[in-house]
């Protein structure tokens, strides 16, 4: 099978025989170059490591809600990706790697809101410090990603919130 995708902004085309499981050393073509791949370890959660030309690489795959890869960690290094095409079998429309800046800001991790400096309806400039979200004993300054009007403030001071909780929205 033929895979076309972007990785760190570069275009790649890889060719893998469709029967391949990589449970025995197999060949893979990357932009014409050849390499050998073999699964190192794997469990119910998926592949944990690969041998690539006999070198072991620890991998962690990032996927979007539909299960398409959006990135990969190789030995802890991150590469963002964008799947374009899988030969005839499947076909997905392009997904841009970077979506345009949205005014919606969510918490990236559980924590608590220690301070809010604006009220709903206030006008804010890009970069303004909207609130301080404390997580893992660190104060994270949540700033306005765009200029505009504070449409929603999803929290109040002292709130303990979980990850990806809406903090505020600017329109």
């Amino acid at each position: 099978m033929k895979y076309k995708f972007q990785l760190d902004k570069k275009n790649f085309e890889t060719i893998i025989a469709s029967s391949t499981t990589f449970h025995s050393e197999t060949e893979i073509k990357v932009n014409k170059a050849k390499a050998s791949i073999l699964i190192g370890e794997y469990d119910d959660n998926g592949i944990k490591s690969f041998f690539y030309n006999n070198r072991l690489y620890q991998v962690e795959i990032e996927k979007d809600s539909e299960g398409y890869p959006t990135g990969i960690y190789v030995n802890g290094e991150h590469y963002s990706s964008n799947l374009l095409k899988i030969d005839k079998l499947f076909y997905y429309k392009d997904k841009p790697v970077v979506t345009k800046k949205s005014g919606i800001v969510k918490s990236f991790i559980p924590g608590n809101i220690v301070k809010i400096f604006f009220n709903e309806g206030d006008k804010v400039k890009e970069g303004d410090l909207i609130m301080i979200h404390e997580a893992m004993k660190m104060e994270n300054e949540m700033r306005a990603p765009v200029s505009g009007k504070l449409k929603i403030i999803g929290v109040k001071e002292g709130d303990n919130i979980l990850a990806s909780h809406l903090l505020f929205e600017i329109e």
Partner: protein, 500 residues
């Protein structure tokens, strides 16, 4: 092999690596170690290692590790002989020490009076100035924007704003000019914990070096000075990379630092383990503060003299005297000792803290390095606490080799399930300005920016192959699943998926 009965008891209301260090050290000198832990920490390594452990009712800081009353109540109920507050939390809290002293509970540390004095950074500097010791130019207490305006124009910007009684890097901010300063002060004063005690401002030297002098002083006034530690490389005022000795101070300067330290700690009659902290700018030293408790970087002096500082601290605080130290003894370093802080944070995403369960954890320890961590496969890194998850020390005669050993040691660590700063640390270790010793406070801002690192063609190509390979396999599984569900042969399905 159960042992207990008439052992003396020590209560440890702390967590993470420091809790492990205390449990291990106190066990080895025959004490019964009793841990107080939050529900969140129920499966921590500390609970596994402690002789006994009791759980707080809540994981909220103020209801657990910061709950003075609850801790002292438990101490009395269990009739413990000692409390070791560890590091952070209540370790430098005068009020906690005062309450313990009131109840005649021996708490390891320099005592409430001294902590109270040291806690007030302005008073402490006045004492130093009265001794004729150069200090960083600092303002009075700022409790309003009016106070801030009073700062004389002789102060050079950038200024650094610090909560008067802050711990670690918390709340500290640098401001470029007077107007930004006022904004920031207003913001800071809206915070409860800052408002009450106030802020103070001092001149900021981005090109300066941060130097600490660890010391132990006993009740007879004998002082053991350990080699200085340079801890300039900081992120958000958290020390990431530290080394000892520093390659940035002359022998004469070094001597003056010891002399200044001696005069200050003798003046305030400090008894116990502590650190004096200085800034070095253009070869001149400026006293900044004293850290009056066992710090993360205690591992560095421990390596210099191959001794356990928790045991020493415990002995001194029990009125014992330093062994073969009469007057002042200054230890000369035999090795270049490096220490890095392992953090659960993602360097690729603005160092946002990362919490989760460790799915994999491998490391390999060898001679000339020590890895202290609370991690184990299956351990939970909680979002409630500091992302600091471990520290690694390496030492060698040559600084170059020590750096190389550290990099090599980090390369043998595998951690999955959370993001860590491992690769960031390796990047720092491989940077030229580290090799050349050009380590200043603005190191990570100006000299060594992780984001700048370019991946090689080869690296990206490998990643591409691995990504498509992994995705390919997932698809095959998915397709098979679908096919087989139609075929309704779960048996066959099961046989097949054994392979995956």
């Amino acid at each position: 092999m159960i042992k207990n009965s008439t052992k003396k008891k020590i209560l440890i209301p702390n967590r993470g690596v420091i809790a492990l260090d205390i449990i291990d050290s106190m066990k080895s000198i025959g004490l019964e170690t009793i841990l107080l832990h939050s529900p969140e920490d129920s499966n921590s390594l500390a609970v596994k290692m402690a002789c006994r452990s009791y759980k707080f009712l809540s994981s909220k800081l103020e209801d657990s590790y910061m709950d003075r009353e609850a801790i002292i109540e438990k101490a009395l109920e269990l009739d413990v002989d000692y409390i070791h507050p560890g590091y952070g939390f209540l370790a430098e809290d005068p009020e906690f020490f005062r309450l313990c002293e009131e109840k005649n509970i021996e708490v390891v540390g320099p005592g409430s009076k001294l902590l109270k004095l040291v806690e007030n950074k302005i008073e402490l500097r006045q004492i130093a100035e009265d001794l004729g010791i150069r200090v960083i130019k600092y303002s009075g207490v700022i409790k309003s924007s009016l106070d801030f305006e009073k700062i004389p124009p002789t102060f050079n910007y950038p200024l650094i704003l610090k909560p008067l009684k802050g711990l670690g890097g918390k709340g500290i901010k640098v401001v470029e000019d007077r107007q930004k300063g006022e904004e920031r002060v207003n913001k800071m004063l809206q915070r409860e914990w800052i408002k009450n005690t106030g802020i103070f401002a001092e001149e900021y030297f981005p090109e300066a070096h941060n130097i600490e002098i660890p010391f132990i002083r006993d009740i007879d006034g004998n002082i053991l000075f350990l080699p200085e530690i340079e801890s300039s490389i900081q992120r958000r005022f958290q020390k990431i990379f530290q080394e000892s000795p520093s390659v940035n101070i002359s022998d004469t300067l070094r001597e003056s630092l010891y002399e200044d330290s001696r005069r200050i700690i003798e003046e305030i009659k400090f008894v116990g383990l502590g650190y004096t902290e200085f800034l070095i700018s253009n070869g001149a030293s400026y006293f900044s503060e004293i850290n009056p408790s066992y710090q993360i970087n205690a591992l560095i002096p421990e390596v210099h003299i191959i001794a356990n500082f928790l045991k020493k601290q415990f002995a001194i605080s029990n009125g014992e005297l330093l062994h073969d130290v009469k007057g002042v003894k200054i230890v000369k370093p035999k090795y270049s000792v490096l220490l890095v802080s392992l953090m659960a944070e993602n360097p690729l995403d603005n160092f946002q803290p990362s919490s989760g369960v460790l799915s994999e954890f491998f490391k390999y320890s060898t001679i000339r390095n020590i890895f202290k961590t609370s991690l184990y496969t299956g351990a939970k890194v909680s979002p409630l606490y500091d992302p600091y998850i471990g520290k690694i020390v390496t030492f060698a005669i040559k600084r170059k080799n020590s750096i190389n050993d550290m990099n090599n040691f980090l390369s043998n660590i595998i951690i999955k399930g959370i993001r860590t700063n491992l690769n960031f640390l390796r990047f720092v270790l491989e940077s030229n300005c580290l090799a050349s010793g050009d380590t200043t406070i603005n190191f990570l801002n100006n000299k060594c920016r992780f984001a700048d690192r370019k991946k090689s063609e080869e690296e990206i190509q490998v990643a591409a192959s691995l990504l498509s390979a992994a995705f390919h396999i997932d698809n095959r599984k998915k397709n098979y699943k679908e096919k087989l569900e139609h075929m309704k042969q779960p048996g066959f399905l099961r046989r097949l998926f054994k392979k995956f």
